[in-house]
């Protein structure tokens, strides 16, 4: 813009202002009118709503988190329960006749249960220990316990379980379950025990 034009515009503007005011009264102080009150209220309302909304979102998120945690805890507990159940099934002992190492017919079902568990939990490794009653010879019982553990393992392997997942040991008559010289105590002591060696943190049902 050129200086002349600028000046012209300034003059026009001044005249326009003078023409509009006409007199001397000072301009009235700005009065709060109804519209601005409403606007302010609306603004505050919207802020409150926003806060409430944020709050409810936060609460909802917290609730969701709580529920999620609860569900997680519940499912963990459920998994732990299942794991414990499976462990319990796995720990069920089997028993033998005096001076025998063959699997009794009634105990085959217990071993079948263990086969299912070993199939469903491929990381699981177990150790089978063979035990004897005190009636036999002390040293011979080490061999007999070994044979009991071995025939138990063989049953599982015959059902398709990888042999490398099962260790065997024998304790002979050295770790009795029940004390006393009764047939009941002896029968309890002629047994194979199952112990988890690895992969037993989280077990699933077969």
């Amino acid at each position: 813009m050129k200086p002349l034009q600028m000046l012209t515009l300034t003059v026009i503007a001044a005249a326009a202002v003078a023409g509009a005011c006409g007199g001397n009264p000072p301009p009235p102080p700005p009065q709060p009118n109804a519209d601005s009150i409403a606007m302010e209220r609306a603004r505050q309302d919207s802020m409150a709503r926003e806060a409430a909304r944020q709050d409810s979102i936060r609460r909802a998120m917290e609730e969701a988190e709580r529920v999620r945690r609860q569900r997680e805890a519940d499912s963990l507990a459920a998994l732990a329960r299942v794991t414990e159940q499976v462990k319990g099934m796995l720990a069920t002992m089997i028993h033998f006749d005096f001076d025998r190492s063959n699997i009794r017919a009634g105990d085959a079902a217990i071993l079948d249960g263990k086969v299912g568990i070993l199939r469903a939990n491929p990381a699981l490794r177990v150790r089978i220990s063979g035990h004897c009653d005190e009636r036999g010879s002390d040293e011979y019982n080490l061999a007999l316990g070994n044979r009991r553990a071995s025939s138990t393992k063989q049953y599982l392997v015959n059902q398709g379980i990888d042999a490398s997942r099962i260790d065997i040991v024998s304790y002979g008559e050295e770790r009795p379950m029940a004390m006393g010289a009764t047939e009941e105590a002896w029968a309890q002591n002629r047994r194979a025990e199952f112990e988890i060696v690895a992969g037993g943190d989280m077990l699933v049902q077969p």
């Binding site: 002390d138 011979y140 007999l144 070994n146």
Partner: protein, 456 residues
């Protein structure tokens, strides 16, 4: 022991003698019956050989000694009694605390039925044991030894060695007084003198031990310890109390070690998944693990060498139940050793070949309990030695005449000793819980055995 009172009077007085003779008979009969308690069981089986009847054994009188020598005299007399070679005779009215008789009275001793008499005296720091030939009325042998003070740890053993010399000087037999027995209690290996004195712990491990077995010469023994379901074999040195592991063992369940008579080879049982079999290992060169049996569907265990080292007796389940078998030391020529009736005879276990090679002791299941048997190697006949209670795990004394074994005849499992000639039985220990005994060979002269501190 013979009651001598009656005989004295009968020898010295006239009319009284007959009545006292009757009284003597009456007292002897019940004593004889007690001594023959387990002999009666022998009579039921087939028996071949000479039977030593009580009363035909030579009479022996241990003469009273000076007070300071009385403990020596008492130990000697007990050792000679425990040898079961003599009828021990007590002097009439004699009291161990009494002063020694100043003069020897051979006619009196002979009247009491003594063939031998023993007197103990001291000259300087030397203990003198004089053995008298009573019928000849003369000194038969004079034995001298430096017996240390009674508080010295070698005191009892040096007296026991004297007792063995007395036995040698009288009946020419090998004595076992200066020997000891290893056994297991609460999973630890203990040692006890053959007369039950001086029980002490010798194994140093804190895991469960089993199956101690002496090395020839008695300076070492082997045993097994449970290691997390595996069996580790150890060699324990008696003098130092130190042990070393046998490196080829421990990764499997290795148990029942047994030395070859030359001490060079250790045979043992190894349980693996296919079953239990017998292996040997060359200890001298620390090499050459060798498998002697291949069981597959049976177990083979508990090896014991013949004293010539040529053969091994062992347990096998190849017939279904455990029985005693025999093989050459290299594993060839495996055959049944102790006869049994298939389907009738109970399982047989824990064989131990006698030091003279003539007999194998073992135990056999009879009607649900265990009894000690001996197998005559030449005739292959067996006879039952025990019948009272449960009796198991026999182990030979070096005289091939006495066996230590585990018995619950007194109500709890304990070690007992039987003389297989007379059937006489005596307890070795009074405290219960002992098992798996191993009787030592003749021990070296100055064997100082280190025991674990604080353990008795």
């Amino acid at each position: 022991m013979r009651v001598a009172g009656g005989r004295v009077r009968s020898a010295t007085r006239g009319t009284l003698s007959r009545r006292c003779g009757v009284a003597l008979l009456l007292t002897v009969v019940p004593l004889g019956a007690t001594a023959a308690q387990d002999t009666s069981a022998i009579d039921r089986g087939v028996r071949i050989g000479i039977v030593y009847r009580p009363g035909v054994r030579p009479g022996f009188v241990a003469l009273p000694a000076a007070a300071e020598l009385d403990s020596i005299r008492t130990i000697l007399a007990r050792d000679l009694d425990f040898s079961d070679r003599f009828e021990m005779i007590t002097l009439p009215g004699s009291d161990t605390a009494r002063a020694p008789t100043t003069a020897l009275n051979y006619p009196l001793y002979q009247a009491l039925g003594a063939d031998f008499a023993m007197s103990v005296s001291r000259r300087g720091d030397t203990t003198l044991v004089t053995v008298h030939d009573v019928p000849a009325g003369a000194v038969r042998r004079s034995l001298a030894a430096r017996v240390p003070d009674a508080r010295h740890p070698d005191f009892r053993q040096s007296v026991h060695r004297l007792a063995d010399q007395v036995l040698q000087a009288t009946v020419g037999a090998l004595g076992t007084a200066a020997t000891r027995v290893l056994f297991v209690r609460d999973g630890r290996v203990y040692l006890v003198d053959q007369d039950g004195a001086d029980v002490r712990r010798v194994s140093s491990g804190d895991r469960q031990a089993m199956s101690p077995a002496w090395a020839p010469g008695g300076r070492q023994f082997a045993y097994m310890e449970f290691w997390d379901g595996k069996g580790q074999l150890f060699l324990h040195d008696m003098a130092t109390g130190q042990r070393r592991d046998i490196a080829v063992t421990g990764r499997t369940l290795d148990f029942t070690p047994a030395f070859s008579p030359d001490g060079k080879t250790l045979a043992f049982s190894r349980a693996i998944e296919e079953g239990t079999d017998i292996y040997t290992f060359n200890l001298r060169d620390d090499c050459c693990l060798q498998r002697l049996t291949v069981g597959r569907f049976s177990d083979n265990l508990s090896p014991t060498y013949s004293p010539d080292g040529q053969r091994i007796a062992f347990v096998s389940t190849r017939s279904g139940l455990a029985q005693i078998y025999l093989m050459a030391a290299d594993g060839t020529d495996q055959d049944l050793f102790a006869p049994f009736d298939y389907g009738v005879t109970g399982s047989s276990n824990a064989p131990e070949w006698s030091p003279d090679g003539r007999t194998v002791a073992f135990h056999r299941d009879i009607a649900g309990t265990l009894q000690v048997f001996v197998l005559d190697v030449r005739t292959r006949t067996v006879r039952q030695l025990t019948s009272v209670g449960r009796n198991q795990d026999p182990t030979w004394a070096p005289d091939s005449r006495h066996l230590a074994f585990v018995s619950d005849r007194a109500g709890y499992r304990q070690l007992w000793i039987i003389d297989i000639e007379t059937g006489r039985i005596r307890p070795l220990l009074s405290q219960g819980g002992a098992r798996l005994p191993a009787w030592s060979p003749q021990l070296p002269e100055h064997a100082i055995f280190t025991s674990q501190p604080g353990e008795r």
